[in-house]
Amino acid sequence: MSKNEEVVVDYKKTKKRLDGRKMDEIRPLSIKAGVIPNADGSAYLEWGQNKVYAAVYGPREALPKHTANPLRAVIKAEYRMASFSVPERKRPGPNRRDMEISKVLGEALERAVFVEQFPNTEIGVYVEVVDSNAGSRVACLTAASVALADAGMPMRDLVSATGIGKAFNELVVDLDKAEEDAPDAVDIPIAILPNSEEIVLLQMDGLLTKKEWDQLVKTGIAACKKVYEIQKKALQEKFKLGEASEKLVEEKVGEKKVNTEKVVSKEANKKIKKVKK
């Protein structure tokens, strides 16, 4: 397909989206909590083609000191895209878009965290996009809130986000790149606190009628709640109740590489030797 040739699709006729999804269906989403050992809390997220790492450090002393607020903690969010995360190489430094997204992410998370509990401190939230295909800011926000909860931060609620909008003459949820480039595309990232349905992030690009808008927000909130269930499962999966086991410890010791010869069982030792060979 040449560059100027436009895709002529009408979702009203096809009843199905370009990648086969229903109109209110999100792309396959999976989250894993606690993937970065050096961070206080972390998460890895795959949402369609988007792949995102989030790490949380803190609360810690706010530096430089003039950024500290004596009444509450400051959330320093940083959104970065890897240079290989987009088809054409991205220059690695933060650009205008990165700075804007960092700002809105931090403000959305600030609403969820009990920041007044930690005066004069900062909470560092770092999200790195390693692969992207539309909707990376909502993916980052979803991952960051899981990472915050994983760090044991006191929070009002998790933040669940999704993209909503219009493409090819139909209202859709979680747009991908092809839909975002549609001639009549409207793209709205939305993030809510699922319990109170309070909206913490809302940006819009395109034109909608009021009727369409009302319907979209409703479907958006429903989609966010689906995302919330997956976030919840990711956090619960990290800890499983039951009897204590040594297996966990063996795994952990293997990770930290402390005195492996003595600590791990004979079987594990054999495996280690094999790997060494």
Partner: protein, 205 residues
């Protein structure tokens, strides 16, 4: 039944006695952190699974001397802010990297801890654990601590800030057991499993 709750999860719609790590919104009780909650108990509370150390009065902490200034020492107690011990409070001079056992005598609104009765720790080793899990290392009335000291034959101090200091005895075994307790801190019947752990270790040697 005990279950794992996430921040913002609904704990109870009824009125209950409020324990730690919960908040009330429109008459309903919600969890504040990732942790474990027992919904059969008559108070709503959550035991956290992760988190930083927040100093509280009467806590025993193991601190590290981070810097030396004219009037005293800056002590790192694994919290957001550094604590201070004046030179007049200690008998001998301390160096950067020395270990100090101390009690938190006061905490101000900025969560800065004031330390009292500093005691220098000589030799030994420090194992770091997640601060919120130290209560399991101590156990009810210090039962777990007793077990640890007996099993490894060493002298142990447990700081609430997530630092375990030990001297003499079988330190390698102690490190293993502490890691075992930390990893399984949210599971039931831990004292018995730790006893089994020691029995196995004795057989292994």
């Amino acid at each position: 039944m005990k279950k794992i709750v996430i921040p913002g999860e609904l704990l109870s719609v009824e009125r209950k006695r409020l324990g730690g790590n919960v908040f009330v919104s429109e008459g309903k009780i919600y969890s504040k952190v990732l942790g474990i909650s027992d919904d059969e108990s008559d108070s709503a509370s959550v035991v956290p699974l992760q988190g930083k150390y927040i100093p509280q009065v009467e806590d025993t902490v193991v601190g590290v001397v981070g810097r030396v200034v004219f009037a005293g020492y800056g002590i790192n107690i694994n919290s957001f802010t550094e604590s201070f011990i004046p030179k007049s409070a200690v008998r001998e001079q301390l160096k950067v990297g020395d270990l100090v056992l101390s009690k938190v005598s006061n905490v101000n609104e900025m969560r800065e801890a004031e330390l009292s009765f500093p005691k220098r720790l000589f030799g030994g080793e420090v194992v770091e654990v997640t601060p919120v899990r130290t209560p399991r290392l101590i156990g009810k009335n210090g039962s777990m601590l007793e077990l640890l000291a007996k099993g490894t034959n060493s002298e142990i101090y447990i700081g609430k800030n997530g630092r375990v200091w030990a001297r003499n005895g079988n330190l390698e075994l102690l490190k293993k057991v502490v890691l075992f307790i930390e990893e399984n801190s949210f599971k039931s019947n831990l004292t018995n499993s730790v006893e089994d752990f020691f029995k196995k270790a004795v057989k292994g040697n």
